[in-house]
Amino acid sequence: MKRSLRPLAATAVIFVIAYAVAVLQFPNMLSTRVLGNFLTDNAFLGIAAVGMTFVIISGGIDLSVGAVIGFTGVLIAVLTSWLGFHPLAAFAIALGVAALFGAAMGFTIHYLQVPSFIVTLAGMFLARGGASIITQDSVPIKHEFYATLGDLMIRLPGGGRLSFIGMVMIAVFLGGALLAHRTKFGSYVYALGGNSVSASLMGVPVARTTVQIYMLSSVLAALAGIVFSLYTSAGYPLAAVGVELDAISAVVIGGTLLTGGYGFVLGTFVGVMLLGLVQTYIIFDGTLSSWWTKIVIGVLLFLFIVLQRVIFAASAPAEKSPEKV
């Protein structure tokens, strides 16, 4: 097996085992209802995590994701509830704003050679601050279009439901996987994460790709914000605080190397599901404090980072046999 696949395989195995253990304890967890809720509850996280996967594979990081989700929610709520826009128009505006926002971050990162960590941290404060200036309170969204979308769903055998936002997430994952593994843009993203100097000498359009990566991340964050507003039917400036960190965790647990160059979009899906499983388990248990979620995620993350180190160090090229002398 390719070494880059190993962390992903490990995640998948851990997920299956964890799920089996959970089902043994709470047989109810093996139902399409729980599965459907899994997808619905984690839809916004999953969508944001797809964008994060691209950013991390390219060797960067995007800390503005949670703030963009919050900002988008507020923007949509204000546009529809206060200014009377149709939600679809509000969605389009939000996605456009996010695209510009991401492009600006990508520009700064590439042309000013500022680390993505710093630029997106600034972006996070900007988006969060911007949302709070628009309103300090939660703005409810009441529009029949929201109700229509809420009713859209596929009934699964066994009483479960695949909601509209769950479907959106799945579509985003499939689209993301295609983009990462089957397009030139995707190969450029991996190239940047592998070695950006080599990439540029090989003719990869580094500037354009960098800008596109952060645009993609911000647009997907905005899409996550839309999904989140469908999920909560409100916009709140402090919504989704820290979601960027959950997204990063999901990406890393899903087998993407934090230093860039290796990773899979579908791995992130498994990562998100594993995080969702932990949460669901703790809810089912009922006696555990929800902080246990954080502890378990922390342990998992640590485990995976160590695992990746071991895998990549063990098969580093230095060990290859007859070397040129």
């Binding site: 190239a191 592998g194 000498l201 290859k320 070397e323 040129k324 002398v325």
Partner: protein, 505 residues
């Protein structure tokens, strides 16, 4: 003013880095169907000129012309669209991606707008057989040897070069067979009318394939000439502006048996790496190591330095038993190791020249006895001068130095620790003739100062010039130890080749 004599031309090109003039009004013209060698000392500006011709750097003055038309090449991709394919000196490609993707990145075959991996890998396999490589194109590039990666880089450039192929020191990490195969490919391309720029420090190779030469010195054009009219001495004179005597062979003294033994390896080896070997090294002795690709020379060096600890045999230092569990142990014993692959193992690109030179010394002193800046500058300055390191300033990041000068920095790093025993793996690779002679001189001087050394080199003339004894490696085994009269290239070649089915790749 279309001047179709040249497919690619530089007119009065100027490049300035900070206050350093890397190229000073250089003219260069490349004709279709010729192999044009670009020569010059380390830091002469060869790579810089290439980068300007391919859009990786923008000139600060002058023009680049393609087919007689002035063009502005914004980036390497743009140059590719003009049919210019390049292997840069420092190109590592993308170790994290598959061989096939490295070959076709940016030009992948698509179907319905999506990359067609299957076709790409099929094409890659066909392409690579032309270079004698039979490997899985889907495998990660980083898992292959430096030589294979170099060939992939060349294959990629050839693939992209509709018109011009530029190779910046492509042969530095290739063995003889691979070089020959590369030359065959170059010959074919030349006959097909491609224009080829070839940079190397191996004059033999220049004479083997080049039609014309252009020589740069300190950023200035010295001359462009037809090669038939020149001999080696002429070329060296053009490069250095003076004659050099390749000294060394003359002051070869017979092995001095009176000095004390420094190191004794008995049955020393590592499973699946190098067969156990016996070797005694005296103070003031240079052991040359010769052997083919994959014969275990580098592995032997790594074992001696504890980089891959031995798992059998014993080692005695000054008569006392010692074990090497890691390189730290080796450094504590006064060992130094200058590795072959300076990019991966030696150079800390973002640190300054000064820091790169003092880092091993600092490691030896321990972090509690930090060298202050002045001390560091003094040490770095001393080596900068004695090794003739061409850098605008000692505080400049090492990655901005020319390839050969980086090699000198690594050598200085180990010399600064004043080691009792120094292992050099291909110390002259990528180094120009002048510095080459300087390094050979340095090795001789260190030997006379009583340092024990093991020097691995593919250049037989060079090994002969400084070795007091030569060990020959074949199939990961030490097969011969030559001394006295037997130290000559003929005997070495025989010892290496003694096996009919010798390793090739």
């Amino acid at each position: 003013m279309a001047d179709s004599q040249y497919v690619l031309e530089a007119r009065g090109v100027i490049k300035i880095f900070g206050s350093h003039m890397a190229l000073d009004a250089v003219d260069f013209g490349l004709r279709a169907g010729e192999v044009h060698a670009l020569l010059g000392e380390n830091g002469a500006g060869k790579s810089t000129l290439i980068k300007i011709l391919t859009g990786a750097y923008q000139p600060d003055g002058g023009q680049v012309l393609v087919d007689g038309q002035a063009v502005t090449l914004d980036n390497p991709l743009h140059a590719q669209t003009h049919g210019i394919g390049t292997v840069y000196q420092e190109v590592n490609l993308l170790p994290n991606r598959s061989v096939a993707e490295n070959l076709y990145l940016g030009h992948q075959p698509t179907r319905f707008g999506l990359v067609d991996h299957r076709r790409m890998e099929r094409d890659a396999r066909v392409l690579l057989t032309r270079y004698g490589l039979d490997l899985d194109p889907g495998s990660e590039l980083g898992t292959h040897s430096v030589a294979v990666q170099q060939i992939v880089a060349i294959a990629r450039a050839v693939q992209l070069s509709g018109k011009v192929l530029i190779l910046d020191e492509p042969t530095a990490s290739l063995d003889r067979n691979e070089v020959e195969r590369l030359f065959e490919v170059i010959g074919d391309l030349k006959r097909a009318g491609l224009a080829i720029i070839f940079i190397t420090h191996f004059l033999d190779q220049v004479f083997a394939i080049a039609d014309r030469v252009t020589v740069l010195r300190n950023g200035r054009l010295v001359d462009t000439q037809q090669l038939d009219a020149l001999n080696r001495t002429d070329v060296v004179r053009l490069m250095l502006g003076k004659d050099i005597a390749f000294s060394g062979a003359t002051d070869l003294e017979p092995e001095n048996p009176t000095t004390e033994v420094l190191l004794e390896f008995t049955g020393y080896g590592r499973r699946r790496s190098v067969h156990p070997f016996n070797l005694t090294i005296h103070k003031g002795e240079v052991i040359g190591v010769a052997g083919l690709l994959g014969s275990g020379r580098t592995e032997m060096a790594r074992i001696m330095f504890g980089a891959d600890p031995a798992d059998q045999g014993t080692m005695r230092v000054n008569g006392k038993a010692a074990t090497l569990r890691s390189t730290t142990d080796a450094i504590a014993l006064g060992f130094g190791f200058c590795p072959e692959d300076r990019k991966a193992e030696g150079i800390l690109g973002d640190l300054s020249v000064r820091e790169n030179i003092v880092i091993a010394l600092q490691g030896k002193l321990g972090w509690f006895k930090a060298l202050n800046r002045d001390e560091q500058l003094e040490i770095a300055g001393k080596f900068g001068e004695s090794m003739d390191i061409r850098a605008a300033s000692l505080d400049m990041p090492v990655k901005l130095l020319s390839g050969g000068n980086q090699q000198k920095v690594i050598l200085s790093r180990w010399l600064a620790t004043d080691p009792a025993f120094l292992i050099l793996d291909e110390p002259t690779r990528g180094i120009d003739v002048g510095a080459h002679a300087e390094i050979v001189r340095t090795i001789n001087r260190l030997r006379d100062d009583g340092m024990a050394m093991v020097v691995i080199s593919s250049e037989l003339d060079e090994v002969v010039a400084y070795s007091s004894r030569i060990v020959v490696m074949r199939d990961r085994e030490m097969v011969a130890e030559l001394r006295g009269k037997n130290i000559n290239p003929g005997v070495i070649v025989q010892a290496i080749a003694n096996n009919p089915d010798e390793a090739t790749l």
